[in-house]
Symmetry: C2
């Protein structure tokens, strides 16, 4: 810990990019689903294009232009928005649905399950993700993520980095923000959590968006930074 | 399964009485906290009196007379309501707070942790309890209950047996009620879940409220009934 603060009682985790490798997983799933339909695409570019619609899709909710919708619903809207750019048209609804659920089948970065189990022995652990509850449950079951609870956007009815999402996670566990730590591979997420009074922990994911396209280190002050989740767990004394 | 229905994809659990022995646990905790203050009470009667305020306390929320409040808040109100009947007065706020959190330190019935682990291998499992999220988290950590998510009253903003609580649990997992099963030791809980379209599983807890004071069998039609959770797990094919 770089600042003198009390040890956190709960750790909240960003998930996409921080704990799971969405890029190669979505590429793999899209290929498995669309290849049988005769498509031969740049699957990593496909994953990047989908992720590129992520923030604009949530902005509709954040700004109040549409009611809160689960991320699954936004993923489906976003998919239909960018598919024509890959000349993919006329897919049956069931295929679009299966494709949307690719986000439920992401693989964790290799060190994550064991490191999260170490952290759970000392701290309450919960995702504070923009993903919906069923998506988080499916990722946890797939990757053996031993969550104490599923917190995040669906509990709060809004999307990070809106303050209410971080504060709803703290409130669900009856903890002051100062006794909670947000853990993410994204400095903007951590800056927003810190503005709500949470402690912050950064994990390096330098290749999240492809080789050299990710954060090797935080760009904002944080309480602790790790090379990966195992390193963070060690630095938090577990 | 006594009726021909599809296998459930998720099991939702009542917790107080069904999975944990609130009566002897609250009696033990109350004794540990109040004995040092010089009180020598009938601790099981104390637990029964507290539980006796449970439904009236929630009725205030169900009827809309007060906004939704976490069960911890109602437990504290209920405590202050019945304490004078035991001639307990003038306790410091911190003692009342500790006593309220006795409900976070309940022990599971002995077969529950292993049986729940068996069920989790086949089904999504979540509490659908009137207990708040932090209370459910503490019971899970104490008793090694491997929940996929914490659902129930705090997600729904209302209390069972209001239909919205069961339906919010189904919706959180993107499942139709017909693909979910409510598991409880209380026939009224199961009747309400069935009215919402859920399948139902009963567990016998014949001594929940003291010797011979509990449900040895369901008093309403159910899809499956077990002598305990291990028996239910066997009857569900796990």
């Amino acid at each position: 810990m770089q600042r003198a603060k009390p040890a956190p009682q709960a750790l909240f985790f960003d998930v996409f990019g921080t704990l799971v490798d969405w890029r190669s997983s979505v590429a793999r799933e899209a290929r498995a689903i669309l290849s049988p339909h005769g498509f031969d695409l740049d699957w990593l570019a496909f994953a990047d294009a989908w992720r590129g619609e992520y923030q604009p899709g949530m902005d509709e909710v954040r700004a109040g232009r549409i009611p809160f919708s689960k991320l699954d619903v936004l993923h489906r809207r976003n998919l239909e928005r960018f598919l024509p750019r890959f000349d993919v048209n006329g897919l049956p609804d069931q295929v679009l649905h299966d494709l949307t659920l690719a986000w439920h089948r992401l693989d964790a970065w290799p060190e994550v399950p064991a490191a999260l189990a170490r952290l759970k022995a000392r701290f309450r652990v919960a995702p504070c993700s923009n993903g919906n509850i069923s998506l988080m449950v499916d990722l946890a079951r797939r990757n053996n993520l031993p969550w104490d609870a599923i917190l995040g956007s669906e509990i709060a009815g809004d999307y990070k980095p809106k303050p209410g999402v971080y504060l709803a996670a703290c409130a669900a566990l009856d903890l002051d923000p100062g006794h909670c730590m947000m853990v993410a591979a994204h400095s903007n997420d951590l800056a927003s959590a810190a503005a709500c009074g949470l402690m912050t922990g950064h994990i390096a994911r330098p290749n999240e968006h492809g080789p050299g396209k990710g954060e090797p280190a935080p760009t904002v002050p944080v309480d602790v930074a790790g090379n990966d989740l195992a390193d963070l767990a060690t630095k938090l004394g577990t």
